[in-house]
Amino acid sequence: MTGQGFTCCRRRALQLAGAAAIAGTFSIHPGRRSFATAAGEYGLEITAGRITVDGVGSKAIMMGGSVPAPTLRWREGEEVVIHATNRLDVPTSIHWHGLLLEGVMDGAPGFNGFVAIRPGETWTYRFKLRQSGTYWYHSHSAMQEQQGMYGAIVIEPTGREPVKADRDYVVVLSDHTREDPRRVLANLKIDAGYYNYQKRTLIDFFRDAGREGFWNALTDRLHWAEMRMDPTDLADVTGYTFLVNGRGPKDNWTALFEPGQRVRLRFINASAMSFFDVRIPGLAMTVVSADGQNVQPVRVDEFRFGPGETYDVVVLPREDGAFTIFAEPIDRSGYARATLAPREGMEGPIPERRPRTILSMADMGMDHGETGHGSADRGAGHGMHGGAGMDHAAMGHGAPAADGGPRRPFGWADAATPPGTKALDYADLRAATRNPDDREPTHEIEVRLTGIMERYMWSVNGRPFGKEEPIRVRYGDRVRLKFVNTTMMAHPMHLHGMFVELENGQGDRKPRKHVVVVPPGRTVSAVLTANEPGEWPFHCHLLYHMEAGMMTRFVVEPKLA
């Protein structure tokens, strides 16, 4: 899938990349070009083309001639120049997700004076890298991201790299559909449940009536029906093939290691709409970085992440065998799969699929503390993966089924994590270094996540983009963002231009994030030092939610002279 679209103006860079790969300091994934370079100047063409996933061809939009786009390997402190040329017949853009840069270089049309790149035109991005870590880049126009416009960015630190690894791979997860995204959005507008083939049926009713009693099952249905809400609404869009580095489950993208090596995997959720539960059966993962920012190592067996988020993990496979990297979307409508193996062509076993959860009344914000976990208003600690036990008391769910079957998951956060294994919780994330700004926030900004599922309308503070009420702060302000999710879907909220510090109970080592997942019906808070002047997009990173209006402006007004 490599193409001619990606050209490097400095031949030296290519040579460096090749030399580095041979030396084994890092790896280039097969079939793709990536660059380790000192100062770099790049040409990046955006073209329409075709890709093949699991043997099936479909249309795609590419940057640099491939899906995903070439991994950009840069070094902190260098200045990069990218000439992006639009070879499509519609406007496009490239947004550098998670990078700290001048507003006009951020690449979101309609913000900070950036204008979409028109067909045939070239726009030159130029910025100095002020950070290190794992990031990514993608289109910010017309749902082109869903069509393949995404790729990874890896920035090496100028100083010592605290994470020691013998191998270093980028693992870009995405969701691929052969449908035109405009058609997908139109279908959702016509029928919000258009893609849901896991609704509760009469047959489910009789099964639940048998397990929980007729009246319990009926009352539960009546509660949901009265509100005109659907507890099976975990994912708006289905029909996806889930990809790892552009490869389908059958293609089986493979990363090589030698037994005993430390392997760093940089997971990027570049999907349009999918929360993934990620695990590598047989290997514990040590999370070393979240959203590109180093965290104190946390050993986990699995993690969940939403569109836009990244996690770097280190694994230490000792055996001479194949391990499966397995990522299931939370509606369990398929899986992404890749292999970690000592040699090409090996395959690990495909693990048993996890059961799909069902939303609870707590996900509707209806618990009002009754169930005792009360994560709302207590920061993000229990926001994601409140841990086994949450919500389970309600309505007879959660307990092992009367028929002796496995425990049925209950509530959005329940990934059916087996007892004795550890899933990453937001509360586990502890920044590697102290937060630089220890001021208490001077004021709190409530960010209500709002929507009408039935009409597929999504908004921030009740106002869709176009009629938005911008959030305004002054340069240098220290503010708290209080995300209140009034909907029954989780929203990965992405702020451009700045990191927020998640208030997850880690004191002065709050993790820095560019995407904060706010589970349904919950409240999550983060603090922010407004030190990047500009007019930044602030939106839900579920692509169709953003397109339907879930975006606002976050304005950092410049310091008065």
């Binding site: 139109a186 258009y194 083939y197 049926t201 009469l202 047959i203 029906a225 005109r228 039935e454 009409r455």
Partner: protein, 245 residues
């Protein structure tokens, strides 16, 4: 000028007034078209053959809409044509409306009946949306160009037996404030229709179905039907297809 003449004149303007409303409501969609948030859909809810004693009937119920989250225009049609006979019912509605709550649209517009004869034009006021417990409902009031007032209420529900096999009960009731003999309508409760259709969604856009359709005329409407030699009550088996285009 006699009061009736004045009333006739007023009625003539009523149609014109209703025709102007769309322009006001369509301002929203026109703006949205610029930002690419204009959507459209066409749905044939029922296209069916009703098998019963006497003449079998071809019946349809379809609608299309174009607009935004907040403003939409609808074109709706329904009708019945007995086998080998003239059109028994043929109704077209052009409605414009806006979102008045999370789940409901308020709509105004015009309706034109090409059958039964003589033709009639109506002004329409409708409340359309999704009621608690997932009932899709529509309540409409009609004022004809002859000044006759009538109303209709319809509701339906979808029961998922499996993900693709869906049972849809439906009901519709028609009421009139006065009798219109020439169109076979009495005053008060005119008729009640009940349906039960079982469809299979091979894909969302294509679902054949079978079912039953029962209707009964009441009061003066029933009397007029009997005078015409028709039954006041009718039960039919239906075979049809539901399409989303």
């Amino acid at each position: 000028m006699a009061p009736t003449t004045r009333w006739n004149e007023a009625r003539r303007y009523l149609g014109a007034a209703v025709a102007v409303l769309p322009a006001l409501v369509l301002g929203g969609p026109a703006r949205a078209a610029e930002t690419g948030h204009l959507f459209a859909a066409m749905q044939v809810e029922q296209l069916e053959y009703r098998l019963k004693n006497g003449a079998n009937v071809l019946a349809w119920d379809a609608h299309a809409w174009v607009g935004t989250d907040d403003h939409k225009a609808w074109l709706e049609t329904e009708g019945e044509k007995p086998n080998g006979e003239r059109l028994e019912q043929g109704e077209f509605r052009l409605l414009f409306g806006r979102r008045i709550s999370d789940y409901f649209d308020g709509r105004v517009g015009i309706r034109y009946d090409v059958a039964p004869s003589p033709d009639r034009g109506f002004a329409v006021f409708s409340l359309h949306g999704l009621a608690p417990y997932w009932f899709e409902v529509d309540a409409s009031a009609f004022v004809s160009h002859e000044g006759e007032v009538s109303a209709r209420f319809s509701a339906d529900y979808e029961l998922l037996i499996t993900q693709r096999m869906i049972l849809q009960p439906s009901m519709e009731v028609d009421l009139a404030a006065q009798s219109v003999r020439e169109r076979g309508l009495g005053s008060g409760l005119n008729d009640l229709e009940l349906g039960l259709r079982l469809r299979y969604e091979f894909v969302r856009n294509f679902a054949p179905y079978v079912g039953i359709h029962w209707e009964r005329k009441f009061g003066g409407t029933a009397d007029l039907a009997r005078e015409e030699g028709e039954d006041a009550e009718d039960l039919a088996f239906v075979v049809g297809v539901r399409l989303l285009l």
